[in-house]
């Protein structure tokens, strides 16, 4: 993924949409008022209905309180100190070359085998080399268009496909769902929009990585994916290379809708900057992700590998409305150094014979704190619903923590709910055993960690899985011994 040479050629492409470059000069001063919301909307040339939607969200946000139930600790966020129109940094404010970038970051890029030009892009270096605009991008667009798949930026979708956006936006994650979702609804910057038409199997895996507009819109990203009747799509988010971002607070919203017999597979590798060893400067990742299995026999599957961010607050969930619908959640979450992760899922069973599977693997190292928080709710209507939850924690060292907060609510006596949990520690004896066989300390740790995560890795698309393994081993370097 990250090492694809094709990407190199993409990064040099000029933006088609003129406004993207126009805003280069403008940036909003910090602060959040109704005017901020109007400004953001106007900048994007949005129609009135979109602005009204944002304003309504803003009104609701103002009446809400920041939640404090998560098992994470961070200094209070001053929402008036954030700039809500994060125009891309002008070239002169950026690092001028890789020499100006944190050498540790470069070291990691090299270990991951990321080409030089791509390193520059990821590190936010002012890139002015223009490559011949090649074809990958176009072929890719052509292929999707031929299948009738819509894959574009959220702003473009608002302009080009207002009917779809109006119909589905906020239908899975309501504006007032939670504090961060409300904030996102008011000021979201951009994001991705996907529509897969009826009885269509999306001809390729869709990745945000190929949509260059998505760069630098990370702060308040909005994603909406609709799989119409009988369709299938696999969507990849993120990339294994650690991404630098000037914005500390990230509050994204992702909504998935699967209609009758449709399937959405959503895979994430999240590797935002976790901060230094003391946790300084890391990203706060407060994300709301939810999938709606609206149709009969529909299926939504979340797979995530979370290794970055200083704080992760994220619960990709499934609402299983359609009869026989299936929800899945496979997760590896790593908290090293001072990282804190509170992550898990919600499986809301509403339809008859709905099934869900949760496999969560938490790794804590250094002074990291890792919490699994999961809700399984079986509604009265969910006759014959089944859930299986497996929740394992692996500890490395004696200064980290693993916590499990499972919530189970069952209102239908025909349901079957299983919960398995385990906590283990990589012991010095295990390491010595492997080392005495000729395996280096580092390889021994990797062997154990990969064995622990295997169940989740096998759910990832092949190339993502290989990179995720590599990423974990780099993130854990020096964590033991």
């Amino acid at each position: 993924m990250a090492t694809s040479p094709d990407v190199q050629t993409l990064i040099g492409q000029k933006y088609d949409a003129g406004f993207v470059t126009d805003i280069e000069q403008e940036s909003l001063p910090p602060g959040l008022t109704e005017d901020t919301v109007r400004f953001v909307s106007a900048k994007k040339g949005e129609p009135q209905w979109m602005l009204d939607w944002r304003l309504k969200a803003f009104e609701r946000w103002q009446q809400m309180k920041e939640p404090n139930w998560a098992h994470v600790h961070y200094p209070k966020i001053d929402y008036q100190a954030i700039s809500y129109y994060a125009a891309p940094k002008s070239s002169k404010d950026r690092p001028q070359s890789l020499d100006d970038v944190d050498p540790k970051l470069i070291e990691t890029y090299n270990k991951l085998g990321i080409p030089l030009e791509e390193q520059k892009m990821l590190a936010g270096v002012a890139v002015d080399v223009v490559f011949d605009s090649v074809s990958v991008h176009t072929t890719f667009k052509d292929k999707l268009a031929a299948a009738g798949v819509i894959f574009c930026s959220f702003s473009e979708a608002v302009r080009e496909h207002p009917e779809l956006v109006k119909r589905y936006l906020g239908s899975v994650v309501p504006q007032h769902d939670n504090y961060f979702a409300a904030l996102n609804s008011a000021v979201f910057s951009d994001g991705s929009f996907v529509y897969i038409p009826k009885n269509t199997r999306c001809p390729m895996e869709l990745s945000t990585y190929f949509r260059m507009n998505a760069m630098n819109t990370g702060q308040f990203e909005r994603t909406l994916i609709i799989a119409d009747t009988g369709s299938y799509v696999s969507y990849l988010e993120g990339c294994t290379a650690p991404q630098r971002d000037e914005n500390q607070l990230h509050a994204a919203v992702v909504e998935l809708i699967a209609l009758d017999d449709a399937e959405i597979k959503y895979s994430t590798v999240q590797n935002w900057y976790p901060g230094d060893e003391e946790g300084r400067g890391g990203i706060y990742n407060f994300v709301t992700k939810r999938g709606d299995c609206r149709g009969r026999n529909s299926k939504i599957s979340w797979t995530q590998v979370e290794t970055g961010s200083a704080i992760t607050w994220k619960y990709p969930s499934c609402v299983l409305k359609g009869e026989n619908s299936v929800g899945e959640f496979y997760s590896v979450a790593l908290a090293n150094h001072r990282q804190q992760a509170d992550t898990g899922t919600k499986m809301i069973h509403i339809g008859r014979n709905t099934r869900s599977t949760i496999v969560s693997k938490g790794i804590s190292a250094g002074k990291g704190q890792n919490a699994y928080r999961g809700l399984v709710r079986i509604a009265r209507s969910a006759e014959g619903a089944r859930n299986y939850t497996q929740c394992d924690s692996l500890l490395m060292g004696d200064q980290c923590g693993a916590h499990t907060f499972p919530y189970v609510e069952v209102k239908n006596s025909s349901a079957q709910v299983e919960h398995e949990a385990s906590t283990s520690k990589i012991s010095d004896d295990q390491l010595f055993y492997l080392r005495s066989r000729g395996i280096s300390n580092e390889d021994a740790v990797n062997l154990i960690v990969n064995g622990f995560c295997k169940q989740v890795f096998k759910e990832l698309p092949m190339e993502f899985a290989v990179e995720a393994q590599k990423l974990l081993s780099i993130s854990l370097e020096g964590a033991v011994g």
């Binding site: 012991s427 080392r435 005495s436 066989r437 000729g438 395996i439 390889d443 062997l447 990969n450 064995g451």
Partner: protein
């Protein structure tokens, strides 16, 4: 091959080994016997490089190389193998996969090219046949859910694949019934060769009926108090250890 001189070892300030002198030439099998707490396992661990032991005096050399200065994985690279008294369980890690990583780690240490999957699997098949090991054990997580006998047999299986120059067997017979004992011993005997040495730590002379040693050493209170031929083991069985213990304990 293995040469231990005046080895003193402490654990958390408490002396365990108090001046061990031992030489095991290539091609020989030496048995270490002795009462509980005499330091037998400590000796085995120190040779393999287990952390937690402090060597206060003396040396351990292996074919002229100072072993004490090497990490455990480098000692394996030099050709040292320890069969554990209590083999560890490693959940999620496939037994054969681990062994392949080990073999290639050792080959890398010796500057040899890595063995590919096909070559490796052929080697494994051959060895399982020789040891009468159930193939189903190969693809299970390392030692997880193995019976006591299966764990010990797995140790001998690993040893036969890694083909060490010096194998240290730490009470490999403990917890084995007589049939398992015979199978494990056969596995060891098949590996006996003029280039290979064995150090067999055991409580009971029973194992030595199957693995016949060249020399038997008695370890007591951190020292080797007597060495002798194979018959010494039989005498120990009859008379116990008391007659060998120094009357005054330091």
């Amino acid at each position: 091959m293995l040469k231990i001189e005046n080895l003193h070892v402490e654990v958390e300030g408490k002396p365990i080994l108090r001046g061990i002198n031992l030489e095991v030439p290539a091609g020989q099998v030496h048995a270490i016997m002795g009462p509980n707490g005499s330091g037998k396992s400590t000796l085995a661990h120190v040779i393999a490089g287990k952390p937690g032991y402090t060597v206060t005096q003396g040396s351990v050399s292996f074919n002229g190389t100072d072993l004490l200065g090497l990490e455990p994985e480098a000692r394996a690279g030099e050709g040292v193998f320890l069969a554990f008294q209590y083999p560890l369980e490693i959940p999620g890690v496939n037994n054969v996969y681990m062994l392949k990583a080990a073999l290639n780690g050792i080959r890398k240490y010796r500057g040899l090219p890595e063995m590919d999957a096909v070559q490796f699997l052929n080697l494994v098949k051959e060895k399982t046949k020789i040891l009468g090991l159930k193939e189903s054990l190969l693809n299970r997580p390392v030692n997880q859910g193995f019976s006591g006998g299966e764990k010990k047999r797995n140790e001998v299986f690993q040893m036969s694949v890694l083909e060490p120059k010096l194998a240290v067997l730490d009470e490999t017979d403990s917890g084995l019934d007589i049939d398992a004992l015979r199978i494990v011993a056969e596995g060891v005997n098949q590996l006996r060769s003029p280039e290979r040495a064995f150090l067999v730590v055991t409580h009971y002379q029973r194992l030595l009926d199957y693995i016949v040693p060249d020399v038997v050493h008695v370890l007591a209170q951190g020292r080797i108090v007597k060495s002798g031929p194979r018959e010494l083991a039989l005498e120990l069985e009859e008379r116990g250890y008391d007659w060998l213990l120094p009357s005054a304990v330091a």
